[in-house]
Subunit: 247 residues, 2 copies
């Protein structure tokens, strides 16, 4: 049976983390909010799932995955569920827990990347919190990005399998999450990230390697892939990026 | 073998979520940063675990749990691991995933509660972001607290087992997380939370019931329990609370 993903249409957002795993495991799946309403999709279908009063496991927020009778929310949980159920996670218990830990750390980084442009809350417009966003962006660029990306680099370097992947010998959902996050950071902070090129070579190699995986490459080339844009988590406001280095 | 918890001493913080589960499963455990350094504790012991260069699964941040050979970080992951391994989680797969989802949602709420007093980043003092904190606090009090607590209430109401617990027929680690979070909100926003008394009766009943569990009650009465304070996630700044309702 086809899996169903429920997420806001028109932006990659947290839904894209789930989409990449669905693509990599080659699951049959439908992106419900992007289907027509007569196919059970659109915003109506999305709101029907979120607001179903007979659903005991109604989620707090999107993305939500429906796999048979299971209804699962929370991005790192959905990704771990898919990875562990459909062969995109390590089998060893310690490695399995570490993959989950990485996905949760990535979710924290994603939250922080969002809060850069909405430090005073997502209920107010960016335009109403620009000076505050500029201040938070400086700390995020100078302290948080190096701390997070340096940690991923360390994880890659210390992986006993020396596979170039974050955990164990093979690709896992944790790698896909890092891939999407690095692309998001490059979109949001092009000057800053260009200035950091070469600093975390393992992370950069992983990103290139994910992009070249046949299923992922085909997906990135398709119209199923949603481009980063100014409605998503990663947004490019030039005033929040570092100045361009004169070249 | 005794489990080891590594977390900053002197504040309940995210470590307290793990401590409550350890207490409820009646595990032998040591709160390492609160032991003397000659016992392998103190800040030295904490930094040794965080900075161990031979550790392939070195975590990004505290809290960290050591259980035999396993080293686990990320609060909701540690709590789920302990609950599922030591009998404080549902057995049914859908319920088990839902308990994890609840714990992740609680972690999101905890992050937002922290960001109330540090909207521009944890790298700056509260005193240097007071007007911004006041603005973020208003949205958190008026929009986010009702959205989150209303969701927990809905989960309790819809639980098919009608047990008064969040998932299934018995207590799980998800309940302990909600308990600690509600206490934290009451500490941080006493006037605002007093004004909301009675609005989510199921949540309030759950909090009372957790506090009365014999192991938890004994722990709360002991000097192992760290009181909320101004170094933690939940901080009481009167200017961020709502005004007291004249009584």
């Amino acid at each position: 049976m086809s899996m169903e993903l429920y997420y806001w249409p028109g932006l990659p957002g947290r839904g894209e983390y789930v989409r990449l795993v669905l693509v990599a495991i080659d699951a049959p799946w439908r992106d419900m909010a992007r289907l027509a309403e007569r196919q059970g999709g659109g915003m109506d279908g999305l709101l029907r799932v979120l607001g179903d009063e007979r659903e005991p496991f109604a989620p707090f927020a999107c993305p939500v995955l429906k796999d048979g009778d299971l209804l699962i929310a929370q991005t790192p949980l959905i990704c771990a569920y898919l990875g562990e159920t459909y062969g995109l996670a390590p089998a060893d218990e310690a490695e399995r827990l570490f993959a989950r830990q990485i996905a949760l750390t990535t979710a924290d980084l994603v939250n922080e990347a969002h809060d850069v442009h909405h430090p005073l809350g997502s209920w107010d417009y960016y335009e109403d919190q620009k000076p505050e966003a500029a201040r938070r962006a400086a700390g995020f660029r100078d302290q948080r990005i190096p701390k997070f990306l340096g940690w991923y680099e360390q994880v890659l370097t210390r992986n006993p399998a020396a596979s170039g992947w974050l955990v164990g010998a093979g690709l896992s959902y944790a790698d896909l999450g890092l891939f999407q996050t690095v692309l998001g950071l490059r979109y949001a902070f092009p000057n800053h990230m260009a200035g950091l090129a070469g600093r975390w070579p393992g992370v950069e190699a992983l990103v290139d390697r994910v992009a070249a995986l046949p299923r992922i490459a085909a997906y990135l080339d398709s119209d199923r892939r949603l481009a980063f844009n100014q409605d998503g988590i990663f947004r490019h406001y030039p005033e929040l990026d570092a100045p361009a280095v004169p070249g």
